[in-house]
Symmetry: D2
Subunit: 426 residues, 4 copies
């Protein structure tokens, strides 16, 4: 573990203990706040193998701190409950066995209250270490990693709850959300010249190992759309037979779309009066000016081909985003849904609203080395068959994003908050 | 509905309203008592498509009374919640759509408390009708059917909870159970002569339509074992390679056993110290003198072949049981597990302890006519691919059983409380 | 093997060697004649796991004689090719491993010509034994069994070829067949009284072990339809929504019908001009007076319910057929398709045309004992989940049938020549 | 079609008609020669959905010329057989329906001889056009494409036959092959400096659309192994627990390896005396100095991680190969198996022996545009979920390869002739 910590430390500039303690309180409290208003029943059920119960998210993020901080830094640490080592381990083979992912919904015990106790006791211990200045620099880096990890699970928690409520014919709302409104601006194209660019995270501050090392990439000239694709544009695609024309689709995408009988984005349903969309605020009419959300990579790719464009590579996206401020419709705004972009010039919505599918496979950067030890399993072993998404969504905590941030999903998945920004050759 | 009720009525002798009201209170209270000590989390999760959440059982049994009694008998009945018509309909196509069985575990809403309200309100209305003598004879017959239906779900509830807790690595206990104890008596053979027998239910008193009509069947001479097969006998089978010798198995059974990697009854696990069994009281050592439980028809059949015997037909079983008192280790005893038989002569354990697999396919009796209307779907449409079991288990409510009672499961299923009684030709 | 033979012997009265030799020549030649006009390509391909290539049928039926006659009776018998012991063993665990059934179509080697050599050499040896009177009575019984076995494969061969050609968009014809013609007689009901009947094979002459022992069964009074169901009657069912009304179906049947999207019998296809049926003579219009063929048990059962009738039990069928001559549209007639029944009184088409689904599960008769040794695997281990069919089809060799003959298939299967005769309660 | 041809034409410099006619004769004859010694049975069977029967390869490659050359260039062309338009269309939606890929093995008709007639007649017509100088430049480009297409199928034909024979317990040999021999040279590392490189095909001469356009890519400094990985090195990996250590594997690869129970490369089998490998010459001992073959991308990646190295990107590979002569153990050598490399300095075996897995996802190059019309389906729609392989194998026709050639397969596939060359960071 020491090596891992050293390793992480060398690459970042970890905040001091007091800053870290403050952030720890904030992030941990935010996770709990996301569960306000949920019943223990809402928190225990798993709606599909890809999703996890809210209770499991609460336990797993705590397990991360207990396993990688407390057990590593405190020689006589006593586990809150030895069985949690297996129950709440997600996929870290190096620290032992895991309760199988598709069976996370079987855990009616431990009860939710006991997982909350687990959180409290772990928080006391971690904060004790931080506030007592008893945590050396390498372990502080792991606390910081744990907070970013927990922020990822905050977004997952919303994805998973939305899916759970969608599976319920009662179509319950998670929270009240504002009405849809506004008019989308005209889509414009922003041009970028060819050249060798620096890609990836190189400076101070936190980043995941998959953003490193910073390296050179040649990017040919390209143009990027000024905003993301709207529901209205998607309806045109749909009405133009977008889901029935194989020539628009990648062969694998076409096979999936046929098998799954896709006719529209996930969470859309056709009623007598037109299309409705299920949101975290319950079902409502599809608003044509809002960003389209919950589309797979295959759909995004087919849409782009239909539109005479293509998806941007992650290098193009990062080139365009490198100098932009990380602002937008993020979790702190509480919109809980993508919004119609505000008027303005240049690139809009690069951060927040919806994750933007790129054309890039999720692969290691040249010179990539996963962290040593168990934390090396965090990212590296997933570098196969997945596609990079960039820019965050309305559910992404603000402090969590960076222009170099690489999210990744399988091209057929649709339950994350994924949308489309077009690119084209010059 | 009238027809249905007339139909039912003609075949039974329905108790008077006061008797029915008393039984209604008892049965409904017993269902709730089974949930004492369970958390709402325990009640919402579905552990496999065959099983249902406890909350769903609570709702569905209530839906039965609301749909087939209140809505049928009260012209201005207002539904407690119109959505429940779909959520809690199990498989009655004639009364509308059903929430899909494998997705019963998605229903974190309505919350458990609301389902309890649903029970209370329905109970008030049904009891009001009964106690006000406002329920005509045909509808009273449906109340009685509803109570037997609810008693079936009481046993299902225990089966499903046991499976859920088994899926949890913490292996929680449902209730405290007594220690295993006693010595099984020697297995003896009881002989029955050939002849034409009357099979099925013909007299007064309640019976399901699948027990009717009473008809004649020729039964050749046979012998029946005096008690059910014990765990010790099963261990001999197992140690003699019972699970590795295809010549002992039906071809379909062998295929299932290979695919599912069966090595022992369900809920058995091999530890360093021998075999343990998971019970409603948690895991404990296998007790050799206890009845074996949770075996499939395929295993029961293979065991019988290994033992130089066979399974009894349901006609043989009924012939033997016809005149016996319906007594044994049933739900009211609270053992929550099959018990070592008490010493004694003749047939033991014919009722209670474990359901006994027969050699008979679950098929209609000659002249069988399902009830008219929706209640005709209760039994008849399942008369394919299933096998009859007889005699009830430790989880069967006592007032619920009869010698003519036909239970039925697929030959590969093992989560019910199923055991084996041997038979042989003379 | 000796035991087996003794066993078989005791139950039959095996023909003398000369008779047997003559029948051997006939049956073996008939198998080869069925392959006339087929290319080696036609003979090697397997169209689905249930079906086998013609070449495999040619080899397997020969393997049966080599394994159970030559290797058993001739102490120094040298195998034609040791690899054939595995390649052509269907499912007899007691004589060794089997090439997996779903991979029978992988065997481009041995070439068809070599399998023909295998037949010739085996025929020479078996006939040598028979004609030299060097085969003792027990082994002669196995020769007879082998001939009946081969006759079963003659029908399978036609079923499998039909399916193969159906899978080919060119829709090739196996043989030229005559035109459909004639008018079906009115369906009448023939009544049978209640009573104890003798069921099963008891006399001299060959029978399979599953027809034995002859035993008593009580059969309530019933009526049987005078002929089988026609395509025209099936079209009425179909046009009355037969495939869209769950109340007509067994629950398992409905699930299969939905999943497989059944809309008509197998081999039917709707064209602009109505329904066509694929026959061994190629595609042609559905003829309304012909017997319907290639329906599953589930469809047969749903049809019967729609018609206000039911399927007969196998005991009812045998009671009705017991004294009838075994005559009808059988393989020797060469029609290769079910025919419109000739006018006449009483039960028609009890033998030939189409196998008739019964309501009976395929289960052992009281006192059933499979033959000892490997041949005990012939029938007994399949007594689970299957349904009895009676009466033979246009593809059944005439000498092969008896009133006690029990054929069996899974209720969802449709590639055999299966049809429907109705029954009803009195 | 005209557009397509123009398009292709613009990018290549098509050979004159006489040259093309000569190459046409050569390539077409080579395909037939590959089938020498095969029976019509060998040519009709499909061993798995990924593979096609030899007869289908013979028909499909001919269909390509008939569809894209004859039907396009000859206004009154009469199809040889209209049904072939569907039977032999692989995946070109733009020219109509396709017989489903997994059912190519059902086509016992048309017989092999008729497909050979189809080839002869098509050859006569195409050669007539070429030799009569009646084929304009754009259509000549399609003839050239058709020849490269046919060469790809020559390699597929060997892959598919090998798999078919492997599925046969008789383990037949396709052809006699020479003995394995020689000693592998020591693995050395060859260094390449960082810089912007030109990648893709830009000059004259044929290339597929996926190799275009030639574009710039920045490649960081790297080292490449002087030869491919040997069976001996793979045995070390295997004996060091390579197939049992999840930390060596990508998560998706580990899941596949567990599910498929991989313990060694495809076609390896452990016997009492060690490992044997099934080759086109039949089974023989694994030779430690030969290149390892038939490994998936997942295995290649795990091996590289175990070896402290990684797979090269396709840009690295092309950078290294750009100036090398296209020489090696290719199809013309007739070895039918990868060979021990000859001694020598620098990079060995870059062409021939085994296809080399890269670390690169198969994605479009910047500015990629598929050909217009149906031929645009040739490559572009497969740019998802696949991995690039480079360098050709012992089964690749020599004239068919280029340094810019991109082959592609799914990371779990193993039936192609795929091996591993290591790379590492500097």
């Amino acid at each position: 573990m020491g090596t891992t910590a050293n390793d992480l430390d060398a690459m970042t500039g970890t905040p001091d203990a007091a800053t870290l303690a403050r952030r720890y309180r904030d992030v941990r409290a935010r996770t709990e706040a996301l569960c306000d208003g949920l019943s223990s029943e809402d928190c225990v059920v798993q709606s599909m193998p890809d999703a996890s119960p809210a209770k499991w998210h609460l336990g797993h993020t705590t397990w991360f701190f207990e396993t990688f901080v407390l057990a590593a830094a405190v020689s006589d640490h006593v586990a809150f409950d030895p069985s949690f080592a297996v129950l709440f381990n997600s996929y870290y083979n190096a620290v032992g066995e895991q309760h199988p992912r598709p069976r996370r919904g079987m855990l009616t015990r431990p009860p939710l209250d006991r997982v909350r106790d687990y959180r409290r006791r772990t928080d006391d211990l971690v904060l004790g270490l931080l506030e007592g200045e008893r945590l050396a620099e390498p372990d502080r880096a792991i606390v910081e990693l744990g907070l970013h990890h927990e922020q990822q699970h905050q977004e997952l928690l919303l994805m998973d709850l939305k899916h759970l409520f969608w599976c319920n014919p009662l179509a319950p709302a998670y929270r009240e959300t504002g009405p849809a409104g506004g008019r989308a601006t005209r889509l414009e194209w922003v041009r970028f010249d060819a050249g060798v660019h620096r890609i990836g995270h190189g400076g101070d501050g936190f980043s995941f190992d998959n953003e490193r090392p910073r390296h050179r990439a040649f990017v040919e000239a390209f143009e990027l759309a000024s905003r993301v694709v709207t529901c209205g544009e998607w309806l045109e695609f749909l009405e133009d037979g977008g889901y029935e024309r194989p020539e628009l689709w990648l062969a694998d995408g076409w096979a999936v779309a046929r098998e799954a009988a896709w006719r529209a984005p996930a969470y859309w349903r056709r009623s007598d009066d037109g299309w409705t969309v299920f949101t975290l605020g319950g079902p409502r009419e599809v608003h044509p000016d809002e960003p389209v959300c919950h589309v797979s990579h295959y759909e995004a790719d087919a849409f782009a081909r239909w539109a005479g464009a293509r998806l941007p590579t992650e290098f193009e996206w990062e080139t365009a985003a490198a100098e932009l401020p990380v602002r937008g419709n993020l979790a702190a705004d509480g919109a809980l849904h993508p919004l119609v972009p505000r008027p303005g010039d240049g690139l809009r919505q690069m951060f927040g609203d919806v994750w933007e599918w790129t054309a890039s496979a999720y692969l290691p950067y040249p010179g990539y080395r996963p962290a040593a030890g168990a934390l090396g399993e965090y990212n590296g072993k997933f570098m196969a068959n997945q596609i990079v998404l960039r820019g965050g969504s309305f559910a992404t905590p603000s402090g969590h994003l960076r222009p170099t941030y690489r999210n990744f999903y399988y091209p057929r998945q649709r339950w994350m908050f994924s949308g489309v920004r077009l690119a084209r050759d010059v």
